[in-house]
Symmetry: C2
Subunit: 342 residues, 2 copies
DNA sequence: TTGAAAGCGGTACCAA
DNA sequence: TTGGTACCGCTTTCAA
């Protein structure tokens, strides 16, 4: 049924190997035959089988994004389309396919080695929520190209791409300080949540830099939901000193906070300024609209893919040093009403 | 380097074919040898190459989602994570991989036949924005399994899955009528936009059913952005009879509408009721919160995948009739303040 | 510049 | 119940 290289060879009265060379535009084939055979290919509607090519070349021209799809409401959720778009924008033009693989952190180690050994991909991009130290070690031992999305806190270096949350947080905080806010509180997140750690650290960096004395940052880690935001503001207003600005872990926390502040008749941004991370999904649509950090999630995907492609291409050249690249994308500050007093 | 079936055969002192049979759990192999060979496989860390298996079996155990990733802000954008999750939830357990392919409508025809012929997938799920009549015909002629996501308006039947937007719109309208609204206006969308056509048709269905006479639906197709929503409301308020309820094409149109109504001091839901499609990304977070239709996008992906898997599995059985299944998912009404007078 | 043949790592049929 | 062997469709030496 399907037209194969053999059919073309027969039709052109040449050997299979000649056809193969035409396929790969070998310099050892005369232009005349190239033209002739290509014509025949077109007429017979011939397309080489990627399966056969893959087996012969021992690579499948496919890269895989490995994530845990069961984690609903995660960071990935909102930015998935952008991240995928970013990855595709670099692997596509390189003639690589992109496959999505779903696996939980627990099963990931076994899954990864099986995946690699089964030759389902030439390289993988993996979310940091599911890469363990063991699997990172496995991948390294197998010499398999991979890139991590998100921070990595293991002992060994790992090629990874992430938004620079810490510097972003610093930038966001500087903005608050420029606006005259002095008494900051950080709400949302949870202890041991890497995103929380780096963002709160960034806020502290800014306070130290600007030498804002006597007003240490107060931190309220209580989850990343609207409810949590609402609740944290309640707590803050009831006990102790009231801050004049809130840095919120995400849009939902910020939304909950705004809601509670409104109920209490506290004006934003006059009495309390509010800022948050991420521009999606709500920041432009709250009242007042939220000042935030825009994360370049398309760039995140594209950056990861670039790192991976370069690994794959350098692979032959035993250029191991290049494998350890890391990229940090700087978020962009978007100023809106929620933090501008005038 | 890599362990192959040959290595296992050698180590076990049996023929390749025997190992292959163990791999496929053939009933013609004694339990004793199965156990023995499996043990050896484990010890040698053997995983079969999917490339080789694929070539031998002439199928790659991969299904592909084909979309146009350059269409930012599209319906897919917000629901991508859910749709992918839905697809994966059915292909994953069947041991199929999921790949994402990006292509524009213009190049799609060529792309598709190349894709199919190159054996990169055993079946595809394709977005209706890029399937043309020609490509549908091609796929059918090739006898290649595929499922469309979204409505299909071509002459021939095509296996597809979609949210039942028309019935959903009817349900949404019935809710408005139950609340006592009588004078409806439909805002957003654009002529020839299938989603617009089916949704507005659904509203009209409801009006006819309930015999709401003398107040035909007024329709304002002016795009699907916040700005458009804002603008349409301005226009409506300035000219002619003022409706008592607005059905909005999406969350952004509704947001723009709410904004304008608020500026004009028109109360929602007392003076004008507002409802919209989709629960994402804003509906729960506007003031007042929006009554809407929740679309089961996870189910959309899962449904498409199920249809496709059944096609792939029935393929051998020449059971062509089953290929023409269609699925319509019923959206769920979520009632919120924007349309409840009491 | 072209051809022949041995892989790549499995599957599947037929014989033993 | 096992083994031998001819594929699957393309690549890649090595000869001609």
């Amino acid at each position: 049924m399907k037209v194969t290289i053999k059919d073309i060879a027969k039709a052109a009265n040449v050997a299979k190997s000649t056809v193969s060379k035409v396929l790969n535009d070998s310099p050892h084939i005369s232009i005349a035959t190239k033209v002739r055979i290509r014509e025949i290919m077109k007429q017979m509607n011939y397309i080489p089988s990627s399966l056969a090519t893959g087996l012969a070349r021992q690579k499948c021209h496919n890269i895989s994004l490995i994530i845990d799809l069961t984690r609903r409401n995660d960071f990935l959720n909102f930015f998935f389309y952008n991240i995928i778009g970013g990855i595709e924008s670099v692997v596509g033009p390189n003639n690589y396919e992109l496959t999505i693989s779903n696996v939980g952190r627990e099963e990931s180690r076994d899954y990864l080695t099986r995946y690699v050994l089964s030759q389902k991909a030439d390289g993988i991009i993996i979310d940091n929520s599911i890469l363990t130290k063991d699997s990172a070690e496995d991948l390294r031992n197998l010499g398999f190209p991979y890139v991590l999305i998100g921070e990595w806190s293991g002992p060994k270096m790992v090629p990874c791409v992430d938004i620079n949350n810490r510097l972003g947080a610093t930038r966001l905080t500087q903005h608050l300080l420029e606006q005259g806010y002095r008494n900051l509180a950080f709400i949302g997140g949870g202890e041991n949540e890497p995103l929380f750690e780096s963002r709160s650290a960034g806020v502290i960096d800014a306070l130290l830099q600007e030498d804002v004395e006597g007003n240490p940052l107060r931190i309220y880690p209580d989850g990343n939901t609207e409810k949590a935001g609402y609740h944290m503001v309640s707590t803050i207003l009831e006990h102790g000193e009231i801050p004049d600005a809130l840095v919120c872990m995400n849009n939902f926390v910020a939304f909950g906070a705004l809601k509670r502040l409104k109920e209490k008749g506290i004006s934003v941004p006059q009495e309390i300024g509010v800022v948050t991370f991420d521009n999606e999904p709500l920041a432009p649509y709250t009242t007042p609209a939220l000042t935030c950090l825009h994360m370049d999630t398309f760039g995140l995907g594209a950056g990861a893919a670039e790192l991976l492609m370069s690994q794959i291409q350098e692979e032959s050249q035993a250029n191991q040093d290049k494998f350890l690249q890391q990229k940090w994308l700087m978020p962009e500050l978007i100023v809106r009403e929620s933090s501008t007093k005038r």
